[in-house]
């Protein structure tokens, strides 16, 4: 199916060389846009995962003062639309920060990273909590019996086991955040969808517009499909 589709696009380009030339001309521009998508998703996932693991551990804390804020954070930001969070960070954060008399610019793409890191952290927290709770309680007791503190038990005994169980849902989340980067185009970040709109406006040829948006769909598909296939494989292996 995919092969047939690629063949059809290739045939189309061969039949119309001027279109192929145009695409070749604009491809670097589109690629630069897509690099932004990749940059945003990698940074958002890194940030979101770090914060999410901490929040997930906090959700299981025995101290109410630690637990309650984490639970509230996860509840609110797991239910919030990604677009709303991107708007929130874009419009609430200043466009530059003054630190020690220096003006540090705070570009829109960094705000988009934070906007996507927030839901990523909330989802990672839930994944972490689920994985932590899937470890039988006697293991905690055994760790305690061996003289491990709670933090040490978490670090050396529980977390390594959680990693295996948390990996497939975490990869699903990664795919979802990668696709979320397209939303950044709506706050003016220059990513792939934005670049495609620029290109199709600049050329203003119907067939080129069609081809550009097909390219955009294809780029995202190439980015996300391998991840989702790998996730399925891992899930199947864990289910056995």
């Amino acid at each position: 199916m995919a092969a047939g589709f690629c063949a059809a696009v290739a045939l189309w380009l061969v039949l119309d060389p001027s279109l192929a030339r145009l695409l070749l001309e604009w491809l670097p521009y589109l690629a630069r846009g897509f690099a932004m998508n990749i940059l945003i998703s990698v940074l958002a996932m890194a940030l979101g995962t770090l914060a999410g693991v901490a929040l997930g551990a906090m959700e299981l804390s025995q101290m109410r003062l630690v637990r309650a804020p984490a639970v509230a954070y996860v509840q609110v930001f797991r239910n919030a639309p990604h677009l709303v969070l991107i708007f929130a960070t874009t419009y609430i954060f200043p466009f530059e920060i003054v630190a020690l008399g220096h003006y540090i610019p705070f570009p829109d793409w960094v705000k988009a990273v934070i906007g996507l890191a927030i839901p990523a952290s909330a989802h990672t927290a839930e994944i972490t909590r689920g994985a932590l709770q899937s470890i039988p309680t006697p293991q905690w007791d055994a760790a305690k019996g061996l003289g491990f503190s709670r933090i040490e038990a978490l670090r050396f005994i529980i977390l390594p086991q959680c990693l295996r169980r948390a990996l497939p849902p975490w990869m699903n989340l990664t795919a979802s955040i990668c696709m979320g980067t397209a939303l950044a185009s709506l706050v003016g970040v220059h990513e792939l969808l934005h670049a495609a709109t620029d290109a199709s406006t600049a050329v203003s040829r119907t067939d080129f517009t069609v081809l550009t948006y097909v390219t955009v769909l294809f780029a995202f598909f190439l980015f996300c499909y391998p991840v989702s296939r790998l996730t399925q494989r891992l899930e199947r292996r864990l289910a056995r």
């Binding site: 199916m1 995919a2 509840q75 609110v76 239910n79 919030a80 639309p81 990604h82 677009l83 709303v84 708007f87 929130a88 419009y91 609430i92 795919a175 696709m179 979320g180 980067t181 397209a182 939303l183 185009s185 709506l186 969808l193 709109t197 199709s200 119907t206 517009t209 069609v210 948006y213 097909v214 955009v216 769909l217 995202f220 598909f221 996300c224 499909y225 989702s228």
Partner: protein, 246 residues
């Protein structure tokens, strides 16, 4: 009512939140319209996505390659590309081609709203279909064979035996998809459908009260999603098969 609104505005002002726009009939109307539009979108797309999802799941699990193949390709394409890109693709490309075929945009009865509903429903339908497929495949082969032995056709087995069981196993995933659907309605902003995000943006560009509206937006979506999750849990309890997971 007027007094209550004024009281609320005064109270919010004390903690530094600016809700003055509630006194402007024009902005208030637009804002409430936005909320209604979002709720209508949710109410339209949930049943549509479920119906299309069942159809897709039936195609996915059918023995006919000409039916299962395209359904599989559609599901993979939909799940692995951003909904926003799909929406832009349909509005800017598909809709344009339709307009050209009909001889101008003035003859094209399909608008942004139509494509928004279609894209969201069909996108979430693909997610439902995957969940249901898992459920259908989890039905014990012996059960299916017994039904076939009783003289049920392939379609009857699906309708009477497989789907009712599949729905029960797939319910948590389906509710998850519906929560996703509610969040997806915000992309209507991109094609200027006046849903709540769009309406809020129109107001905060005028009044610079982003934080205030953001709080309302987060509460609004939390409330809808809480309702969806509660409803899902109630359906789950009602459909629970005795002896499984209790």
């Amino acid at each position: 009512m007027q007094d209550a609104v004024r009281g609320f505005i005064a109270l919010a002002a004390q903690v530094g939140l600016n809700f003055d726009f509630l006194t402007s009939p024009f902005e208030l109307r637009m804002w409430l319209d936005g909320m209604t539009t979002t709720l209508v979108l949710v109410a339209l797309t949930i049943p549509l996505s479920l119906v299309c999802g069942v159809g897709l799941a039936a195609a996915l699990t059918s023995n006919r390659p000409w039916l299962a193949g395209p359904a599989r390709a559609y599901v993979e394409l939909t799940r692995n590309t951003p909904t926003l890109v799909q929406l832009m693709f349909t509005v800017l490309v598909v809709n344009m081609l339709i307009s050209q075929a009909l001889g101008g945009a003035q003859n094209n009865p399909l608008g942004a709203y139509f494509w928004l509903v279609a894209v969201i429903s069909l996108h979430v339908a693909a997610l439902h279909a995957e969940a249901l497929r898992g459920g259908i495949e989890a039905v014990p082969a012996a059960t299916v064979e017994a039904a076939r032995g009783l003289g049920f056709s392939r379609l009857e087995v699906l309708r009477v035996v497989e789907l009712p069981l599949a729905v029960r196993t797939a319910l948590p995933a389906i509710v998850n998809n519906l929560v996703n659907l509610v969040k997806l309605t915000t992309i209507g902003y991109a094609v200027a459908v006046n849903e709540i995000t769009y309406a809020s943006l129109m107001i905060w560009t005028q009044r610079d009260n982003v934080v205030e509206l953001m709080i309302v937006l987060l509460l609004f979506f939390s409330a809808i999603n809480l309702a969806v999750a509660r409803f899902g849990a109630a359906v789950e309890r009602r459909l629970a098969v005795p002896g499984y997971g209790q």
